[in-house]
Structure formats: structure tokens, C-alpha cells
Subunit: 196 residues, 2 copies
Amino acid sequence: MVSQTRPRRRADAERSIARIVAAARTCLSEHPDATIEAIAAEAGVGRMTLYGHFKTRADLVEAALSAALEAGEATLATVDLSGDPGAALDRLLASSWSLVAESAALLEAAQGVLPSGRLRELHAEPAKRVEDLLRRGQRDGVFRSDLPLPWLVSVVQYVLHGAAEQLRAGNLTEENVAEVAVATVRSVLDQPPAES
Amino acid sequence: MVSQTRPRRRADAERSIARIVAAARTCLSEHPDATIEAIAAEAGVGRMTLYGHFKTRADLVEAALSAALEAGEATLATVDLSGDPGAALDRLLASSWSLVAESAALLEAAQGVLPSGRLRELHAEPAKRVEDLLRRGQRDGVFRSDLPLPWLVSVVQYVLHGAAEQLRAGNLTEENVAEVAVATVRSVLDQPPAES
DNA sequence: CTTAACTCGTATATTCCCGTACGAGATAAA
DNA sequence: TTTATCTCGTACGGGAATATACGAGTTAAG
């Protein structure tokens, strides 16, 4: 149902599209207003080949965002989100922190090129998953309830986005970035033990 | 020493410059790639007047960033940073969270138009103030030491920047934004009471 | 009042990027 | 092999933004 619109597409075209989308994901999440030409170069194809598959920049951005969100959905589906919310969050972040960070960056890149309605539509389902987990954690008294839920969701994105940024800047390493990001998120979400 | 380059400048010119810089600060911190024309309009002057005082876009961005950082410095100078680091941080954030958020946004706007060396140079001193406060808090056992100091400094910026963003988006209100931001920052920095 | 500084519009050059048009050559699929 | 698809270069047009050039009108400062 994703892209079975086939009048019949050749295998090499399929491959090109995959490379282009992958390139768009990396380029756009690093630099929100990356050039079409830069993305094509990153993908190893000519600019005109890219235009052959994506008529406009918005199409490309949407494809990149969709791909990232679908990857996130796929990962979320494999993670066990039941049981202790704290442990569930740890599992979730451990396996998908970079995807969430990437999605946040792409979301930023998509603002202004996609209609905001379409944007919310794409982002709604994965965001709801995280939100539900946090809400459950609040109900169980594991996560804090003294701050608005949407704010907490946003902060998770900010922290992960920042972790990816600091990794690129060389201030964090491949080895410690996940640990640092998870610890930071946990300290934001966890219910402080003795709150007046 | 700031701008006494004195061939002798008229009072109205001084006023125009002040309005332009103020407009640049607000416009650029809301929208990193705001147009020169938009900034001039916000300042209530013609585009050509702006060019009369700032030859290039980079000049303008640097002026805006410098002004914000100087305002931050001035505020920092009035805040009592001695005593309990936690309380000092509360005082600091209460009186300057929006300035820090603005500076972070301007810093983002400045990337790419200013040489990165110049950028670090401008940002170095105010960042050091915060860093010193956090370091002292770590030594006193008030702030956590299990995460790298530069990361903690960055997270403070991310959170404040996010708070400003959510305020603009209408997800936080003028009344609760400061409280929410401060509580979030505190929960990231505070030493967890029972750490194995 | 006189001068120099300032304001600011119009016009223009330049640059950058998007998107289209055209077409020749390479390649997968039948 | 035949055919439709795909690749991709060159070239062009349009739009937006930066920056310069010129100049006429306005205003602060001596």
C-alpha cells in the first residue's frame, strides 16, 4: 500500500529512489535547508535523476520524513512497551533514540515546505505512541505529573536532537551518546521521590 | 569602547541603529533566516537605511548577537551567583531565561553567516559564567557529575530554547513558561539523592 | 543659516536555487 | 533484440534575496 502504484518500475529506479531518500534523510536532518543538488550528490546521482522521481522539493521532504517516521513505527512495533514505564522508556530510547532525533530534525526541515496539516497528520501516530507511554507512566506514578504532558514530549525531542547535534560536533562520542541522552531524558521524566 | 568610533554620529542615526538591532534580535530569534527587508520593516525604517549602517547581513547578525550577549552579561553581573549553587541557578534562570533562549536562537542564526571562530569567541565568556556555576555546583555535590559538563550546559540552552518555542506555539503560556523551564532544567541538573 | 549627516525610494547587478525543457546515451525487461 | 524506462548533462526561465549606485528630500548640529 506504500508505493505499489506500479505501471511497472525498473529495479535500478527503485534503487535510485532508495538512495535519494536515504541521502535526503541524512542531509536534511543535519542541515534543514540542504540544497536539492547537495542531496543528489550525497545520493550519488545527478540532479536531474532526482527530479525524475520527485517533482518538487516538498515531495522529497515529505518522502524523507515519511520514511523516517515509518522506520520509527517499525522500531516501535518491535519494542515491548508494556510493563514498568521507566524500563519501557529505556528500551524504547535505547533502540530508537537516533531515529527520534532524526525525525525531530526532519520535522523542523518540513516546516514551511509542507502544509502544517499534512505535517501533523504524518507526525500524529508516532507521537501518540510516545505520549501514551508517558501518560501511562504518569498514572503509575513513575513519571512526573507536575509538568504538562506535551511539554515533556517536546523535551524528549529536544534532548535527543541535541544529543545528535553534539555527536556531530564531536562533543559526545558514539560510545557515550546513547547513555548520556537516556540518562538526561530519564532525569527529566522521573518522578522526584520527595516532592512537597 | 563598544562603539565610540566617533567621526561624530547624529542622534537620529544612533536611534535608528538601536531600533534596527532590536528588530534584528526579535526577528532572528524567531526565524533564523529572516529577510533584511523584514528586519528593516520591523524596525520601522527603510531597507536602504539599514544598509547605511550595516554593510552586510553578517554585520547585522553579529551586531544582534553581540547585543544579546552583552545584555546577558549585564544581567549576569547583577545576579548573585554565590551561595548555594541551586538557589543561584534559580535566580539566574528567573532573571535571564528568555535572554539565554534568545541567545541560543541567535547563535543558531549566526551559524553559517559568521566564521565559527568568531562565533565561539563571542559566545565564550557568557557560556563560561554558566559553566563555572555548574562546575561549582558539581563540586558541592548539588549538581550531578555523571554527565559531561559541556553537555549539561548545552541541555540548559536546549530546554530554554524549547520553552521559548513552545511559548510562541501557544503550548505554554506567559504565566507558566518560566516555571516549567526552570523546573525542567533543575531536574536535569540536580544530583539524584540515591545514586548507586 | 549652512553644512554635513541621515533617510529612503528606484533601479540595477549578482547570486543562488528551484523547476522545466530537450535530448542523447545507457540499461533493465520482454 | 527490441522497447520502454531510466540516467543525467546542458541550457533556460523565474523568483527571491543580497548588495550597490544614484539621487532627492529631510533633519540634526555647529
